[in-house]
């Protein structure tokens, strides 16, 4: 099993979610985050004071998937989240030791 973390532009969330559910993904967790990579921030001015805003709002999607589904999930996210402009985001894949469904106690693949 693998954990897939994707940082994407906030307005792309619905598109990504719909694309993932279409290929059979049954759940995910979403957090509002701030971050920056190569995309520059912007400057806001309040009365005389200038504020450089480096951190940009992003959305982080986390989901757990079986080994076989990984490639399909990544491709789907990439396609749905891409705009071609700087700041589209990144996807991280990490191994997952165990998954447990709280309601039933199921473990492993059955819990995904």
């Amino acid at each position: 099993m693998k954990k897939i973390e994707a940082i994407i532009k906030p307005f792309k969330l619905d598109e990504v979610k719909n694309a993932l559910t279409k290929i059979g993904v049954q759940g995910m967790t979403v957090t509002e985050v701030k971050g920056f990579g190569r995309q520059k921030g912007h400057t806001e001015v309040y009365r005389g004071a200038e504020y450089k805003i480096d951190f940009l709002p992003k959305v982080k999607i986390e989901l757990i998937t079986s080994e076989e589904m990984v490639t399909q999930v990544i491709d789907t996210i990439e396609r749905a989240a891409k705009t071609g402009k700087i700041g589209d985001g990144k996807i991280f894949i990490s191994p997952v030791e165990e998954v447990i469904r709280i309601r039933t106690g199921e473990r492993g693949r059955d819990a995904i």
């Binding site: 806001e44 001015v45 309040y46 504020y51």
Partner: protein, 420 residues
């Protein structure tokens, strides 16, 4: 009071219902300006300080009301002593009844005049709080309110508006508080920023306004209430009140536009905060002039006031002081401009009890205005400095660093402004 009732039964009352209703409405309008100020300031600070900031304005309604009725009104407007202060004859509003008082309110019950003036006394010290936002100890602030009202506001009000007051006797014109409210608080704010010092992290950490929608609501309430602030200062309902109402509105509109345009040209963006700040600058500038100048003069006063105050707020970064909410730039500079502009644009045709200004052929008024401005600067500066120094030595002015970092809401009030 029984004797008073008998006297009323025999002598005809000179109370005019139109005048009285306008003064009472104006008193309510000015009262609304204090919570309006609370929101104006509140939106400009960081969210962890929103309640602390609002509270500093709001609580003035409590503290100054009591101070005023117990002895403040007497000091400010009571029987004159040496042209510098009123006596304590009216302590506890003794003798301040429901009959008109010809010295101040010929057609309006004395208590109506008293409560109208009270609302000015309430909001003036609250204005100062913008200068030391996000770092002042609440306990000390409560004491500051009482001391500043007693030793700065009340004497200054007496000098400018009290019967026998020396600035009034000089012939200086201050219709609704350019000297008494704006210059006094603007200069006090300057002193406060110097004594209290900068916010922790000022210049390094970002401290943008947390809720400009709140600020704009506050600015709108201030604009609305100011119709009472200036209009009510006619102490009558009729043509003078109308003049004050109309010129107030024109100056505000002009200043909102001129600040916005100045900022657009200088920084590249027309901002909401700029439009709101410009409006307030226009309100401040027209305050002393509102009963003495006409609509086109008000237009100019507003246009100049907006631009002048916009440039004034950049002084603080040049001179290195943290006047957090620009009290000096808006009230100090705006009030000074307004008082001097009164010396230029005043016209006896508008108000025969006033005077003519420089542009109407009289060269002496501008000098008198300048003298009154200078006196207000010096007096407010020195006495505020003394008050703050004493409070600093005895009670401490600033919250400890940890409390400043956690925010005033939690540290001073044990509350959170928002829970999402």
């Amino acid at each position: 009071m029984a004797g008073g009732a008998l006297a009323e039964a025999t002598a005809p009352s000179k109370v005019d219902s139109g005048d009285t209703s306008w003064i009472l409405i104006s008193s309510a309008l000015v009262m609304l300006m204090t919570p309006g100020l609370a929101l104006f300031y509140g939106g400009m600070v960081r969210s962890k300080n929103v309640l602390g900031t609002i509270m500093q304005s709001f609580i003035a309604l409590g503290v100054i009301t009591l101070q005023w009725v117990l002895y403040g009104y007497s000091l400010a407007f009571g029987p004159d002593i040496g042209h510098v202060i009123g006596s304590l004859d009216w302590i506890g509003l003794s003798g301040v009844g429901l009959e008109p008082f010809p010295g101040y309110s010929a057609t309006v019950p004395h208590q109506a005049f008293m409560i109208f003036q009270m609302m000015f006394a309430v909001i003036t010290p609250a204005l100062i709080t913008g200068a030391f936002a996000e770092r002042f100890k609440f306990k000390t602030y409560l004491v500051f309110l009482v001391l500043w009202a007693t030793f700065v506001y009340d004497p200054l009000a007496h000098w400018v508006w009290g019967v026998g007051g020396w600035i009034r006797n000089l012939g200086a014109l201050d219709f609704a508080g350019g000297l008494v409210v704006h210059i006094s608080s603007g200069i006090a704010a300057l002193v406060a920023t110097l004594v209290v010092g900068k916010r922790k992290g000022y210049g390094d950490e970002p401290m943008p306004p947390h809720n400009l929608t709140m600020t704009l609501l506050g600015a709108a309430l201030l604009w609305f209430g100011w119709f009472g602030f200036n209009g009510g200062s006619a102490v009558a309902s009729g043509s003078l009140a109308t003049n004050a109402f109309v010129v107030t509105h024109i100056s505000t509109a002009a200043a909102a536009l001129s600040w916005m345009v100045a900022e657009w040209a200088y920084r590249g963006n027309p901002t909401v905060l700029g439009a709101a700040s410009g409006a307030v600058a226009g309100l401040v500038a027209i305050t002393p002039a509102s009963g003495f100048v006409g609509p086109m003069s008000a237009l100019l006063i507003g246009l100049v006031g907006g631009v002048l105050c916009y440039y004034a707020i950049h002084l603080k970064s040049k001179l290195g002081y943290d006047d957090s909410l620009d009290v000096v730039g808006v009230h100090g500079v705006g009030g000074t401009w307004g008082a001097l502009a009164t010396g230029l644009f005043a016209c006896k045709a508008i108000n025969s009890a006033g005077d003519d200004g420089l542009f109407f052929g009289n060269f002496s008024l501008i000098g008198i205005q300048a003298l009154s401005v200078f006196s207000a600067w010096i007096y407010s500066f020195v006495v505020t400095l003394i008050i703050l120094k004493i409070l600093d030595w005895t009670m401490g002015l600033r919250v400890p660093e940890e409390h400043e970092v956690n925010g005033l809401d939690l540290s001073q009030h044990g509350e959170a402004g928002y829970s999402f």
